[in-house]
């Protein structure tokens, strides 16, 4: 069976079955990273360009490793030191990259909408590695993979996403994906960090963390950016940590078997304390490990690999 998508722009574009296909295939790709020789020839001769126009460590490394473990050639370009810094528009940069015939462009970009536009205008595969506050589909897929790996299922899980929902592409992608696979989602944030129209998202909304702490199977903490204080979204780190931080008291109230996730990078002491981040409930580093496997699947499928589920 062929994968029907040239690109991966948004979780919103995938069906429930397609999400499960990706998660199932990632299981076998994960095994490759555990081998002594961590490389298979699946994408030999293919070229993957990583265009990262916004700071990123984890996602970029993860995609690069994923491509390399599949034997693709990779080139990475970041905003600083590229022609972007010289004022070249992103479309010109993308057209120039395209002229060098890559098979896939993985793009991270500070504004929403560009990956969709590139997908429309360029013949190669486009994988969205995060565009503004729009979507970050590979993150949501690795998150769902990690939940499924831990709980053995996704349907019926109760996932609480806590923090800056308003500006978070991770929250949007996760909400879109988790709803499709039948999980229940509660978003938790002060009213200022909840998007207008959240009532149409099909999620539970709570402005208080405490009533949710003991109810969720998964507590996903989002990074809260310090700039938001100056933009008047909340009063300061101290009050934020008090009401929305995941600390020892709250960890102790969590449901038996419940886990803690964070897409990183963490603000320790603000949205999460070391008790939560490094404790036994944390599967944060599993998320990172699984990220490589999921991204191998995404590259493999986008570049014409067959859907292969055992």
């Amino acid at each position: 069976m062929n994968w029907p998508h040239k690109d991966l722009i948004a979780i919103a574009d995938l069906s429930c079955e397609e999400i499960y296909t990706i998660l199932d295939m990632s299981k076998s790709f994960k095994e490759i990273s555990k081998r002594d020789i961590k490389k298979v020839p699946a994408l030999r001769g293919k070229t993957v360009v990583l265009l990262f126009y916004e700071a990123s460590t984890r996602t970029r490394l993860s995609f690069e490793l994923a491509a390399k473990r599949l034997s693709a050639d990779t080139m990475a370009l970041s905003a600083s030191g590229s022609s972007f810094a010289k004022g070249e528009t992103i479309m010109d940069a993308a057209q120039n990259v395209m002229a060098m015939s890559p098979d896939c462009i993985v793009i991270r970009y500070p504004y929403a909408g560009l990956p969709k536009k590139l997908a429309r205008e360029l013949p190669c595969s486009i994988i969205n590695a995060g565009d503004g506050a729009h979507e970050h589909p590979s993150q949501a897929l690795l998150d769902m993979y990690s939940m499924k790996e831990h709980f053995g299922k996704l349907e019926g899980l109760h996932v609480a996403i806590v923090g800056d929902i308003l500006h978070s592409r991770v929250a949007r992608s996760n909400v879109n994906g988790l709803k499709k696979v039948g999980a229940q989602v509660t978003v938790v944030a002060p009213k200022t960090l909840l998007p207008v129209g959240i009532e149409t998202w099909g999620v539970n909304v709570s402005t208080a963390f405490d009533p949710v702490v003991g109810e969720a199977d998964v507590i996903m903490m989002l990074r809260v950016q310090k700039e938001r204080i100056h933009e008047q979204y909340f009063s300061g780190e101290r009050e934020y940590a008090y009401f929305y931080g995941l600390n020892k008291t709250r960890v102790d109230k969590m449901k038996q078997g419940a886990v803690i996730m964070h897409p990183g990078p963490m603000n320790r002491g603000v949205e999460i304390t070391h008790d939560a981040a490094d404790g036994t409930r944390s599967i944060i580093l599993n998320q990172v490990e699984n990220g490589v496997a999921v991204r191998m699947t995404l590259l493999y499928l986008s570049l014409g690999g067959n859907v292969n589920v055992d």
Binding site: Y111, H134, R172, I198
Partner: protein
């Protein structure tokens, strides 16, 4: 010139009948029932089967000259206006330099006269440099030819300065045109605030940003007695505030754009920057309210907010591209669409681009009366056509109406008795 046998629709004179018109020296000499004898030797323009309308007045446009000639200039803008059946263009002051003194006003008027197609009437800035701090030289600009004052897209934030500006403008009988937007509330927004903006990951502009300022300006008009014209309203709430103010007898008028009447935020779904304008396109609920406002005569005028931007600028990310779209050539077909789709009397809609703006601005034109300016638009109500980039005479082509099929086409535009546009 003798315009023969057309259906004359002239809201100012409550006329809607087959008539002939005689024009001499740029003036309408006679309007009489169709079928009369053509004066010997007179040039005849056959309008059989066509509509003959007062030349349109667009009370809100940006011609970009001086300063931004790469987007549009007075010549290209005049040509586009003529092609749209617009014989009077009221142009906003956000040029470079800003039209905040008589020299800039004179430059614009002289330039338009040398182009010689349509009448260009500038609006002066309310405050120097549109900075919202010091009053501009409104009186001197009035003598140079401005027809109103406005800081348009940089609305006066300080209420005390707004009050002074309104009273100072009234001193010179200059209408005040207000773009209502609380810049702090609108902040970095790029589209309508709501579920769609949240879904697309774009920052919203709350309807409140407009409504808070509409309230302020309406209160100012009521308190000072100075009339205020609220331009390009986009929300149900604004309309509601204006409705109440009008009921209480306040001197408040308003306009809406064809795009806010015909389009919604759904267009933004593809991140097409031709759907990025300020105020932003709202949802169907707001659009519906505007259409009903038009039907109920709450909306006095329709203005294009013609805002040309070069392709290089509009091709940026949705977050970064400038606000605004062009609108001259689609104005009349858009009005026709409103008439056909929503069954609103055409004459009533036509008043919004003829006699109503003329009255609000205190200018002549917008009517087909004996002795008035021979500004006439001849319109084929049956013709259907599809807008392509090649048809656009503006320097810029930023319009969401590309590819739209319209019913109704401008076939001739006559300004002061001179044919300034012919479709064939």
């Amino acid at each position: 010139m003798w315009i023969n046998g057309g259906r004359i629709i002239d809201p100012a004179n409550n006329r809607d009948e087959l008539s002939d018109i005689l024009i001499r020296n740029g003036i309408i000499q006679e309007v009489m029932p169709a079928g009369g004898p053509v004066p010997p030797g007179e040039e005849v323009l056959d309008a059989t089967g066509l509509w003959v309308l007062p030349g349109l007045i667009d009370m809100h446009a940006h011609l970009r000259e001086p300063g931004y000639e790469y987007k549009e200039d007075i010549a290209s803008g005049s040509l586009a206006a003529a092609a749209g059946g617009i014989t009077t263009v009221v142009c906003m002051a956000n040029t470079d330099p800003v039209n905040d003194n008589a020299s800039v006003t004179q430059y614009i008027i002289q330039k338009a006269l040398s182009v010689g197609l349509v009448r260009v009437l500038p609006v002066g800035a309310m405050t120097k440099g549109q900075q919202g701090k010091e009053l501009s030289e409104m009186g001197l600009m009035k003598e140079a030819g401005i027809v109103g004052v406005s800081d348009d897209g940089r609305p006066v934030e300080n209420a005390a300065i707004m009050r002074s500006a309104m009273e100072y403008a009234a001193t010179f009988s200059l209408p005040v045109i207000s773009h209502c937007e609380d810049k702090n509330l609108a902040a970095t927004g790029v589209m309508n605030e709501g579920a769609l903006a949240s879904e697309l990951g774009l920052t919203g502009i709350t309807p409140l940003a407009e409504e808070v300022m509409v309230s302020r300006d309406v209160l100012m008009a009521q308190y000072t007695g100075v009339p205020v014209h609220i331009t390009h309203i986009s929300t149900k709430g604004s309309l509601e505030i204006i409705r109440e103010a009008k009921q209480q007898g306040a001197k408040v008028t308003c306009d809406a754009t064809p795009h806010h009447l015909l389009l919604t935020e759904e267009g933004v779904r593809t991140y097409d920057t031709n759907y990025k304008m300020n105020p932003p396109l709202r949802n169907e609920d707001h659009r519906h309210a505007l259409i009903e406002g038009l039907r109920m005569n709450l909306i006095d005028c329709i203005a294009t907010d013609h805002a040309p931007h070069a392709k290089d600028e509009k091709d940026l990310d949705f977050d970064l591209a400038p606000f605004g779209i062009i609108g001259f050539q689609t104005l009349l077909p858009a009005l026709m669409k409103l008439h056909l789709d929503f069954d609103i009397d055409f004459s009533q809609i036509l008043a919004c681009v003829t006699k109503n703006p003329a009255k609000i601005l205190g200018i002549d034109g917008g009517e087909l009366s004996l002795g008035s300016r021979a500004d006439i638009t001849i319109f084929d109500p049956e013709a259907t056509w599809t807008l392509t980039e090649e048809m656009i005479v503006s320097k810029s082509r930023n319009t969401p109406f590309l590819g739209w099929t319209f019913t109704g086409k401008v076939v001739r535009t006559i300004a002061e008795g001179k044919i300034v546009y012919s479709a064939d």
